[in-house]
């Protein structure tokens, strides 16, 4: 009897890239719910425009490159990029800016380098950074979160989200509904020589724990991230190192001067901390690849974000921190090759 031959091994576990990507999307669900409850349905609008744009850009890029688009559209990676960008941008952003950012993320962040697996930078952060430096006003205008209290209602927030999405002028009707993020307000306050306790005592910035609005989103992202860790999609090295890189210096600085330095709890539960630690920095394509390398990579992101938050020109610093550390990945990878069995280090 004759048989076909093929090289060993003859069996595989059957894990797939789409499984990885859709697990990531699933794990974003808690943070998404918190986002919608606190900031209105803007996230859903941004998600839809980003997803459609991302799929179109991916298909177009693959067509231009003469590749088959179908498997790439099914692998889910571009939807992860779109979702991470949608989570990062303000929910009030006009739709064309969301579309522009997503298209740039997919085309400039991913396909100019050769598509899936080839991009040195995190595509979502490429898109976000371009938007942030090009449209600073739009990119820093957030709805006042629901947990601030006061007069605003969720249906009104929803109407404003749609208006913002279509690009209407929000200042007239919804002036009291928009503002800077908590981190931004703290930054500005400290710049005007307020002390941290004064700012946190104001009520519109600090909540039960962490800051208003973002604390809950961070908590939900933490829950989703822990889920990814239990499913072994994400390993502990990068999240722990990101948090360590951010929280250790903030613990020390807060100990030295609690009047102006944000403590570790505030740092952990504000801005994009948990989203970055578990979802953005952990993008394996643009991260360092060995366990030891990932510790350095994550710690670098946390530390740079802390430096930007403390002294930089932007309220949150994670997008730039991630991009800067992406740049350092080949260097880190070069010097963190683990010892091979039977060889001297």
């Amino acid at each position: 009897m004759r048989f076909d031959t093929s090289p060993a091994p003859h069996v595989i576990a059957g894990y797939t890239v789409p499984r990885v990507m859709f697990q990531v999307l699933f794990a974003l669900l808690p943070a998404g719910i918190a986002h919608v409850v606190l900031f209105g349905p803007g996230l859903l609008l941004q998600l839809s425009v980003a997803s459609v744009t991302a799929l179109l850009a991916e298909a177009a890029a693959l067509r231009w490159r003469g590749r088959d688009a179908a498997p790439a559209l099914r692998d889910g990676s571009v939807l992860v990029t779109a979702s991470l960008l949608a989570f990062s941008i303000p929910p009030l952003l006009p739709w064309w800016l969301g579309a522009l950012g997503t298209a740039l993320a997919v085309l400039l962040g991913k396909h100019v380098f050769g598509g899936l697996g080839q991009n040195p930078f995190n595509p979502a952060m490429v898109g976000y950074a371009i938007l942030l430096v090009s449209f600073p006003a739009e990119m820093t205008r957030w709805p006042v979160p629901m947990d601030v209290g006061g007069t605003h209602t969720w249906p009104e927030l929803a109407r404003m989200s749609f208006a913002g999405f279509y690009g209407a002028d929000l200042t007239e009707r919804w002036d009291g509904y928009t503002g800077a993020t908590a981190l931004d307000s703290i930054r500005n306050g400290l710049g005007m020589r307020y002390t941290l306790p004064e700012l946190l005592g104001r009520g519109d910035i600090a909540g039960a724990f962490g800051v208003r609005g973002f604390a809950w989103i961070n908590l939900a992202a933490l829950a989703g991230g822990l889920y990814l860790m239990t499913r072994r999609i994400v390993r502990w090295h990068i999240p722990l190192a990101v948090l360590g890189g951010l929280l250790v210096p903030s613990f020390i600085a807060h100990g030295l001067d609690s009047g102006i330095a944000l403590g570790p709890t505030l740092q952990a539960f504000s801005g994009a901390t948990m989203l970055t630690a578990f979802f953005i920095a952990t993008d394996p394509v643009s991260a360092a690849t060995s366990d030891r390398g990932r510790l350095w990579y994550g710690a670098g992101i946390g530390l740079i974000a802390w430096i930007i938050r403390t002294w930089g020109g932007y309220p949150d610093g994670f997008a730039f921190a991630v991009l800067l550390m992406n740049l350092a990945v080949p260097f880190i990878d070069r010097y963190t090759v683990p010892r091979i069995y039977g060889r001297q280090p």
Binding site: F3, S6, A8, V11, I12, V17, P284, V285, V337, P338
Partner: protein, 494 residues
């Protein structure tokens, strides 16, 4: 005694062992014909010492060798050599020169086969030579000549004989069956091997998913009352049975990458090899047969069979109830490292521990694999038992970057297949690395040839130059002498 795995990573795989392991070992009736491949799995062949037409008995030497990596072959049948020709064989490339012997129905044993009177009276060197003559080779899957390992263990002063009964690869259970049914033989052979290797200790390592084998071996050892003989239970983590990985689990010492197990003070032999040594000692029998697992969803009654070396795999499958369903692959070995064969006419070799007849149920995951780009997730490096970064090696292999391949340890890959197994992009990494290694070897050989040629050319040029310079100097000295007005002129005058 139980040990923890200390080599990097590894993975628990679906064992698929219960299929073949439920029934006792089947003794195959002598087949009508055997085809003995000159290469029995070590990659190196012996030389035939019989001609077509020669009459042979059971145990007659039919191929000998002085080469340390090949092993002698003996006829498992009484009959006639009917052909010496290239045939389908279970070796690299799928074909090998085979000595084909046809049975005459008798069971006449060669006169040279006599029980070894007193193996304990032989010196380690004599023992080693006798084992080499008996064609004893690693029955665990490598087919490496036992005598060669023994000699190098003595030279390097290895103190521990490690008997490998881990049997980590899915589907395979012939060693398990052998340990359960012939534990005393395994121990007897182990004691002989220990003496031949000049070792003082013997450790028998068995994975913890084989409680019956552990009990049988422990019982056999207790009957020996030898304090330097013990069973170590190791975790059933693939690839626990890989030589270097097992040594590290049992001793905690790593074998140097460019060295031999003996450099870590250990000589490793398979339990089946030890049982074969015991057969040699009690009956004087060279390796004429082995126990092989015949299993897979493609055979009717999976079982372990003791069969003569050279038995056609088709005969083995028939003995296991024949093919069932739609067999897609015939694999010599297990599903992780086994070699897929093109024909079931190939003969059983000393190195073949398993015949896996795989249907879609067994290998569908690989057949249906859709390869996507690597996303550097690192799942592969998390399981690599050699501590490599397959994701980085893969990039280096794609770029054919030789320095990177060397530095990242493409030659330290043990071909276990785990990186393939876990890869979510379903990239056939192991095969890419084998290919990269071949290209690297070829490039290095070419570079070496070029360097040799350059050196030859440079030396030749220098020699030519030296000759030319010498001639020039000789000419000049003669000419100068001729021009000197001294002797010649004076001579002319005189």
């Amino acid at each position: 005694m139980a040990a923890r795995s200390t080599f990097p990573a590894g993975l628990v795989l679906d064992a698929h062992k219960q299929q073949a392991c439920g029934t006792p070992i089947v003794d195959l009736p002598l087949p009508r014909q055997v085809a003995l491949a000159l290469d029995q799995g070590s990659g190196y062949g012996a030389e035939p010492v019989v001609a077509v037409g020669a009459a042979v008995a059971m145990g007659t030497l039919v191929a000998r060798t002085d080469y340390p990596f090949a092993s002698a072959l003996h006829s498992p049948l009484a009959g006639t050599v009917v052909a010496i020709e290239t045939r389908a064989a279970a070796v690299e490339g799928g074909r090998s020169v085979c000595i084909v012997i046809e049975s005459n129905g008798s069971d006449r044993i060669d006169d040279s086969i006599r029980p070894v009177a007193d193996p304990d009276s032989l010196s380690p060197e004599q023992l080693t030579q006798r084992l080499r003559d008996a064609g004893i080779a690693g029955l665990g899957g490598a087919g490496f000549p036992t005598a060669t390992k023994l000699a190098s263990a003595r030279d390097r002063g290895a103190q521990t004989l490690l008997l490998n009964g881990a049997e980590c690869e899915p589907w395979i259970c012939c060693d398990d069956a052998l340990m359960r049914s012939a534990a005393d033989d395994v121990v007897r052979g182990a004691l002989i091997l220990r003496r031949a290797a000049g070792a003082v200790r013997c450790v028998i390592a068995i994975e913890d998913d084989k409680p019956a084998a552990i009990a049988a071996m422990t019982g056999a050892i207790e009957r020996q009352r030898d304090a330097a003989l013990k069973v170590v239970v190791v975790p059933a983590v693939y690839p626990q049975g890989a030589e270097r990985q097992l040594i590290t689990t049992v001793t905690g010492v790593e074998v140097p990458a460019d060295g031999l197990p003996a450099d870590a003070g250990v000589i490793c032999q398979n339990v089946a090899t030890a049982a074969a040594v015991a057969r040699w000692a009690t009956r004087g029998e060279p390796i004429l047969s082995r126990v092989v697992t015949v299993t897979g969803s493609g055979v009717a009654h999976p079982c372990n069979i003791r069969a003569p070396i050279g038995t056609a795999l088709a005969t083995l499958v028939a003995a296991a109830g024949g093919y069932r369903g739609t067999p897609l692959r015939l694999i010599a070995g297990g599903n992780m490292t086994g070699r897929a064969l093109a024909s079931d006419e190939a003969g059983l070799t000393k190195a073949m521990n398993c015949v896996l007849v795989a249907t879609r149920d067994d290998i569908g995951s690989r057949l249906g694999a859709v390869e996507l780009p690597c996303i550097r997730c690192g799942d592969c490096s998390n399981v690599c038992p050699a501590g490599l970064l397959p994701q980085q090696l893969y990039r280096a292999a794609l770029a054919d970057a030789h320095d990177a391949l060397r530095q990242l340890g493409v030659r330290d890959c043990i071909d276990c297949g785990l990186c393939d197994y876990v890869c979510p992009s379903q990239i056939p990494l192991t095969d890419r690395f084998r290919d990269a290694r071949r290209r690297l070897n070829a490039a290095e050989a070419t570079a070496q040839k070029a360097a040799d040629a350059r050196e030859r050319h440079e030396l030749r040029t220098r020699r030519l130059q030296e000759t030319a310079t010498a001639e020039q100097q000789a000419f000049e000295s003669v000419r100068n002498r001729a021009r000197q007005p001294g002797d010649d002129a004076a001579g002319g005058k005189s």
